[in-house]
């Protein structure tokens, strides 16, 4: 008589799933795998890359894409690009913010403060859609978390612009991008060699800019990532030690009973 035990069961289930898995693979192209510094369990963001990425965002993306859940002060907070207080003030001061109403009931404009939210390029989604050929440029605050491939996918789309394959007809204002779902995108390739002049002297290649801005977007979506990893390690080490202590206590207590545990 064959007896089932749990090991055998797990094996059966795993092999079943592994066997049927290839039957279900989707037809989309897998994004390029990048070895991001923030990917590992102890991962941290590359500070210089975050600062360069912000520059790419500000000079390229921000003309169409909003980032409404971030504040300028976030740029100086630990775990982020960590600009100095003066730099953050200067960045915030470079925009004009509409505020009010004042005591006369009038709206007025003033220079930005670190506590202000990132200024959106358009007053609302409709204006943004109308100005971009009917395709709304998505808000970038949590964009990396809102796409299945995450940072890899972002990077791949930025690098994925190509001539369309022969026979493929594209409408005006539609571009071919092999990593987009359906391979069509309404955004022209936003990056071009040297479109940004990095203030730290790094050469602004396509690859460099795509990596930097993706790193910046990954931070924007998960500004807590470094703290999360740090706290996570402490929590798990604490739990492991406690588990060992409780295990030993359990052994001691159960040794009074003639049963195996």
């Amino acid at each position: 008589m064959i007896r089932f035990n749990s090991k055998r069961l797990i094996l059966v289930i795993l092999s079943t799933l592994i066997f049927i898995n290839p039957l279900f693979s989707a037809e989309s192209i897998d994004p390029i795998k990048v070895n991001w510094s923030f990917k590992e369990l102890t991962g941290k963001f590359d500070r210089a890359s975050l600062q360069r990425g912000f520059q790419v965002y500000k000079e390229v993306c921000a003309s169409c894409h909003s980032m409404q859940y971030l504040s300028y002060r976030n740029l100086g907070e630990p775990g982020g690009p960590e600009f100095t207080e003066e730099e953050v003030k200067a960045i915030a001061a470079s925009v004009e913010i509409e505020d009010g109403p004042d005591s006369q009931g009038e709206m007025f404009t003033r220079t930005g403060k670190p506590s202000d939210k990132f200024k959106s390029p358009y007053p609302n989604v409709e204006a943004s859609t109308a100005a971009n050929g009917g395709a709304y440029p998505p808000d970038m605050s949590v964009l990396v978390k809102a796409r299945p491939g995450g940072a890899d996918y972002m990077y791949s789309v930025l690098m994925g612009y190509e001539e369309p394959p022969a026979g493929m007809k594209l409408d005006d204002g539609v571009y071919y991008n092999k990593y987009m779902i359906g391979q069509k995108i309404k955004m022209a390739s936003p990056l071009a060699e040297g479109i940004v002049e990095y203030s730290d002297g790094t050469e602004a290649t396509m690859d460099q800019m795509a990596k930097d801005v993706t790193t910046f977007l990954a931070w924007a979506a998960e500004p807590e990532l470094e703290e999360r990893h740090r706290v996570g390690f402490k929590v798990i080490i604490y739990l492991l030690l406690l588990t060992i202590l409780v295990y030993l206590s359990m052994k001691k207590i159960w040794s009074r009973v003639d049963s195996e545990i």
Partner: protein
């Protein structure tokens, strides 16, 4: 119950206990005679209590910062993630906690199925447990709607639209549930209200579940009735409490792994896109723990039929104690049932997988086979098995593995090692 009369030592304690016997209750809970052979599958009751408390505590804190309004909900969740002190931690514990809760409840349910814990005299424990499970699903579903992302909105649309399949009054019921003519702000508001209410209903049912458990006492891996207290039992404290604590800590390590190192892996990325009634996502999928039922729903070509079968797949569990005709509880002594048990486990996993796939081609075919087998298991396999299965000899007690048919005690000892 076999508790000896308890008298508090202090005068004040006695005074209080005569008026409200809380101390007697405490004494009953610590002394509660528990089978000493309970394995680690029995630790999930304690783990589930922990999950419920975690969800309630983190949920109360989240509700202090969350705004239940269609225009503000998504932004308020981002506010929690970015501006509230440790808001990201509280929210990730809450969202992953739901998944861990279901993971634990599924293990708990399948443990009951394996060891026959639903059988007489524990039918009421089983039925209260199923009511808890139903409320859990409703609570989790409504909680998933609250961030008001794309999956929230469309998931809510799909599930609430199921009620429109009811003949004649379906449309009116759906409108009544929504509080509008589509999923909208009134829907979000009432879901928030009910999402806050249901965990307290669950808490009440949990108390009844434990109360009902303490009447016959725990089942055990060999599924026999025990004399209580006896050499076969240990007091709940410290023996079971320390074992539950150990298992709970292991569970918390896995839980922490999700919370700190891949907090979004169990969710759907579309839910980080704000809800948009004008754009339907390519694939609308519920959370993983509802997938088997989603597969059953979609495997029926007729909408009403699908709804009936989906609810039927849960309600059939309520009559399970009467469908299973076998007198022997534990699968350890039921060689045939053991096979069918594992086939059933694989069937449910398969249904879950199909629920995540688009309902077409081979997926749909497999989902249909899985659905048919799901019901066959309860309607045909279990009633018939009890009549024809030749069960192995069952021991008389845990400490003395004497076989009722007078077999070789060494063999019986071997059976134990498999438990």
């Amino acid at each position: 119950m076999s508790d000896q009369e308890y008298t508090p030592k202090s005068k004040a304690g006695k005074w209080f206990n005569d008026r409200l016997p809380l101390l007697t209750l405490g004494s009953h809970l610590t002394d509660y005679p528990t089978p000493k052979n309970l394995n680690y599958w029995w630790t999930f009751g304690g783990i589930l209590t922990f999950c419920l408390m975690t969800q309630i505590i983190t949920g109360i804190v989240l509700a202090m910062h969350y705004v239940a309004h269609a225009d503000l909900a998504f932004a308020s969740v981002e506010h929690i993630m970015r501006n509230v002190n440790f808001g990201w931690l509280i929210r990730y514990i809450h969202s992953n906690g739901a998944s861990m809760f279901f993971l634990a409840v599924y293990i708990h349910i399948f443990r009951s199925l394996f060891y026959g814990s639903y059988k007489s005299p524990r039918e009421v424990i089983w039925i209260i447990g199923l009511l808890i499970y139903l409320l859990m699903m409703a609570t989790a579903f409504m909680g998933y709607v609250l961030p008001w992302g794309q999956m929230s909105f469309w998931g809510a649309t799909v599930i609430t639209s199921l009620f429109s399949a009811i003949p004649l009054i379906g449309e009116s019921i759906t409108t009544w549930l929504w509080g509008a003519y589509s999923v909208d702000n009134p829907t979000l508001n009432r879901f928030f209200s009910l999402h806050y209410l249901f965990p307290f209903l669950i808490s009440g049912l949990v108390i009844l579940h434990i109360w009902a458990l303490h009447v016959p006492g725990n089942n055990n891996p060999i599924g026999i009735d025990l004399k209580k207290p006896s050499k076969d039992t240990v007091p709940f404290h410290p023996y079971i409490t320390i074992k539950d604590a150990f298992a709970l800590l292991l569970f918390m390590i896995i839980f922490s792994g999700f919370v700190f190192f891949s907090p979004n892996v169990l969710g759907h990325s579309d839910n980080y896109i704000p809800a948009n009634p004008l754009v339907t996502p390519a694939h609308i999928v519920p959370e993983w723990y509802l997938l088997p039922f989603y597969a059953i729903l979609r495997s029926v070509p007729d909408k009403l039929g699908g709804v009936i079968l989906m609810f039927g797949s849960i309600f059939i569990l309520f009559i399970l104690p009467w469908l299973d005709t076998s007198k022997v509880r534990s699968a350890v002594f039921r060689p045939m049932y053991r096979y069918f048990y594992w086939i059933f486990v694989i069937d449910v996993l398969l249904l879950g997988y199909m629920g995540a796939m688009p309902a077409e081609g081979i997926y749909l075919a497999l989902a249909r086979i899985g659905t048919i087998y799901y019901f066959l298991h309860f309607i045909v396999v279990l009633p018939v098995l009890g009549l024809f299965e030749k069960t192995d000899p069952v021991p008389m007690s845990i400490s003395e593995p004497v076989l009722s048919s007078g077999g070789d005690p060494a063999l019986a000892k071997k059976d134990y090692d498999k438990i």
